[in-house]
C-alpha cells in the first residue's frame, strides 16, 4: 500500500463528502475536467487513444528522472475528463510499482464507480487498466 496514494484518495473523498446530491458532484467533476490541461490535438494520436463506445480517452505516460511515472490524459467528454483528472491526480508521480498495484478505492467511495464499470461506454475502465499496464511496463524496463 502506497502512502502517497492513500493520502490522495482520502483527500479526494473528503472533497466529495460535502456534496449533497449528484448534480453537485457532477458540477465539481466538470470543474475538474475543465481545469485539466487539454492535450494538444497533435498528441491525440490513435496510439494513445482508448476507445469507449461513446467518449474517447487519450493517455500518455512518461518516466520522470526519479523513476516515477507522469501521466497526461484527455477526453472528448467533460465528465469523463473530470474523472480522468482524478485518476491522474491519484497516480501521477508514483513509482511504477505503486501504479501497477494501485487499488483505486476512492472511485467507489465517492459513488462514481458506475462510470468505471466494464460495460460502461466511456473507456474509463480501459484507461485504468492501461495506467496499470504502464506501471508494469516501466517496472520491467527497470
Amino acid at each position: 500500500m502506497n502512502e502517497t496514494l492513500e493520502a490522495r484518495q482520502v483527500e479526494i473523498v473528503e472533497e466529495f463528502e460535502s456534496f449533497e446530491d449528484w448534480m453537485d458532484k457532477y458540477e465539481y467533476v466538470i470543474e475538474l475536467g475543465k481545469s485539466l490541461n487539454s492535450m494538444p490535438e497533435s498528441a491525440k494520436l490513435d496510439d494513445h487513444l482508448i476507445r469507449g463506445c461513446q467518449s474517447r480517452v487519450w493517455l500518455v505516460a512518461a518516466k520522470n528522472d526519479d523513476g516515477t511515472i507522469r501521466f497526461e490524459a484527455d477526453s472528448d467528454a467533460i465528465i469523463t475528463k473530470g474523472l480522468v483528472a482524478l485518476m491522474v491526480r491519484a497516480l501521477n508521480g508514483l513509482t511504477p510499482k505503486a501504479v501497477a498495484e494501485a487499488d483505486l478505492w476512492f472511485i467507489a467511495k465517492i459513488g462514481l464507480d458506475t462510470h468505471l464499470s466494464p460495460t460502461r461506454a466511456n473507456g474509463l475502465q480501459s484507461m485504468v487498466q492501461q495506467m496499470r499496464h504502464y506501471g508494469l511496463a516501466f517496472q520491467a524496463k527497470g
Binding site: W22, E27, I30, C53, Q54, I78, T80, H115
Partner: protein
C-alpha cells in the same frame, strides 16, 4: 377514437414507480426497449407457474395447453399485422435474428455475383451488417440511398438506385435515430416495379402505428417483441407464403423436420415450422401475443396521437435551446427526438440527465453511417411511449437546459 390517459396507463407499468439516483424515474428510452405492462409480465409468470411444457407433439395435457397458447399467440401476431395466412408468421429471436434469417436463407439462395442489394443510410446496423456479410460472401454489391439534411430519404437518389435493379430493397419503416417515418408503401411499389423483393424493418413502427403487411405490399416484415411492450428474446419475421415456401431452411434441428434419416437424408416440415428449429421461446411468444393484444386494446391510433403530442412538445421545447440542433426534421415522424449541442458531448448530457432521473440514450444508436452522414459522433435521443407524459417532456427540456448550463458555464 378514444384518447389516451397516460396516467391510467402508467398504473399498469410497475417499473414507473421506481426512483433512480434518488429521483422518480422518467423513462425516455422507449426506442431502445419498451417497458412492460403488467399484463405481459403476468402472462409470462402465469405460463411458467401453471402450464409450462415443451410444445408440439406432446400427448399430455400441459403440452397441449402450452401449444394452444403458443399457436394462439401466432394468430394474434398474424391478426395484428394483417397477414394473409397465419403460417406467414415465423417466430425469431428478434428483428436482428429475422433479418439474418432472410439474408442467409433467401439471400444465399437468390443473391448472385454482381447483384445489387439496396439499403439506406438511415438503417440500423441490424439492417446493414447482414447485407454487408451477404454481399461479401456472394460477390454482390451493397448500395445505400442517401438521406437529406432533414433526415428524409433522398427521393431522386432512391429512384436512381432502383435503376440498378436491386434484387432486394431493405428499408426501415421508421428510423430509430431520426424518427423519420418512411413511405414504405410507396417505396415497396417502386421497388417491385424495379423487380426487387422488399424487406421492411418494422422494429420502430410496430410499437407505434398500424401495420398492415398486405396493404404495404412488402415481401418481408420484421420486428422485435421487446420494443412492442413484449418480452426479450422474441420477435417476428413475416414473409409472403410463396417466398417462404421457396426458401431453404436456415437453422436445422428438431421441430423443423419431417423425416430425418442418416441414410436417405432429411425432409423438412411445412411453414411456419421449417424456420423454427429447436424448442421455441414459448413464454416469450405467448407474452408477445398478450402485448400486441394489449396495444390493440388501447388502440394504435390513440397511442400515436398521444405520442405525437409529446414529440411535438419536445421538439418545440428543445428547439428553443441555444446551440441545440435537432437531428432529423422529417415532416412525417415518430416519437423519437435526437439532438446535439454545440461543443458539448452527448455522453455528458446523458449523464447529467440520468442524475436527474431522466433516462435517455446517447451515442450512435447502432446507426454509425447516419452519424457519419450528419457529421456527429453521436446524439442524445429521447423517445416516447404510451406511458410518457407532457410533464416528463417538460422535465426533459428543463433538465437538458440545466445540463447545458453546467457543461458550458
Amino acid at each position: 377514437m378514444k384518447s389516451l390517459d397516460p396516467n391510467q396507463i402508467r398504473l399498469q407499468f410497475p417499473i414507473l414507480n421506481r426512483e433512480v439516483n434518488g429521483k422518480p424515474l422518467i423513462y425516455l428510452d422507449h426506442a431502445a426497449s419498451a417497458q412492460k405492462p403488467l399484463a405481459v409480465i403476468e402472462a409470462q409468470r402465469e405460463y411458467l407457474s401453471h402450464y409450462h411444457s415443451n410444445v408440439h407433439r406432446g400427448v399430455h395435457a400441459l403440452s397441449n395447453q402450452a401449444t394452444e397458447a403458443f399457436e394462439s399467440a401466432r394468430r394474434s401476431v398474424s391478426a395484428s399485422i394483417n397477414a394473409e395466412f397465419v403460417e406467414e408468421v415465423i417466430w425469431v429471436a428478434g428483428a436482428t435474428d429475422g433479418i439474418n434469417l432472410i439474408a442467409q436463407s433467401w439471400g444465399r439462395d437468390n443473391i448472385k455475383q454482381g447483384d445489387v442489394v439496396l439499403i439506406t443510410e438511415m438503417e440500423h446496423h441490424a439492417n446493414i451488417v447482414p447485407w454487408q456479410m451477404l454481399v461479401k460472401a456472394c460477390g454482390a454489391r451493397l448500395e445505400a440511398v442517401g438521406v437529406t439534411d432533414d433526415g428524409v430519404l433522398d427521393k431522386t437518389d432512391f429512384q436512381n438506385k432502383l435503376k440498378l435493379q436491386p434484387k432486394l430493397v431493405a428499408l426501415t419503416h421508421v428510423s430509430n435515430t431520426l424518427g423519420t417515418i418512411n413511405d414504405v408503401k410507396f417505396w415497396a411499389d417502386e421497388a417491385h416495379a424495379a423487380g426487387s423483393i422488399v424487406l421492411i424493418d418494422g422494429s420502430q413502427a410496430m410499437p407505434h402505428m398500424d401495420v398492415d403487411v398486405q396493404a404495404l405490399g412488402c415481401d418481408f416484415y420484421v420486428f422485435s417483441g421487446h420494443k412492442a411492450y413484449g418480452p426479450t428474446g422474441i420477435g417476428v419475421l413475416y414473409g409472403k407464403r410463396q417466398l417462404l415456401e421457396e426458401m431453404s431452411p436456415w437453422r436445422g434441428g428438431g421441430e423443423m423436420i419431417d423425416v430425418v434419416s442418416l441414410k436417405h437424408g432429411t425432409t423438412f416440415a411445412g411453414l411456419p415450422y421449417k424456420f423454427e428449429a429447436g424448442t421455441p421461446h414459448i413464454s416469450g411468444a405467448i407474452a408477445l401475443g398478450v402485448a400486441l393484444n394489449w396495444i390493440q386494446g388501447i388502440g394504435k391510433g390513440a397511442m400515436q396521437d398521444h405520442e405525437n403530442t409529446l414529440t411535438a412538445q419536445a421538439r418545440r421545447g428543445l428547439g428553443q435551446i441555444e446551440g441545440l440542433r435537432l437531428i432529423g426534421n422529417a415532416p412525417n415522424s415518430s416519437s423519437v427526438v435526437s439532438f446535439v449541442v454545440d461543443d458539448v458531448h452527448p455522453y455528458d448530457i446523458g449523464t447529467l440527465l440520468d442524475s436527474q432521473g431522466i433516462a435517455v440514450r446517447t451515442g450512435h444508436h447502432c446507426t454509425q453511417p447516419l452519424m457519419e452522414r450528419f457529421g456527429v459522433v453521436g446524439t442524445v435521443r429521447a423517445s416516447f411511449g404510451a406511458y410518457n407524459t407532457l410533464q416528463e417532456v417538460d422535465a426533459l427540456v428543463s433538465g437538458t437546459q440545466r445540463a447545458i448550463r453546467m457543461l458550458k458555464g
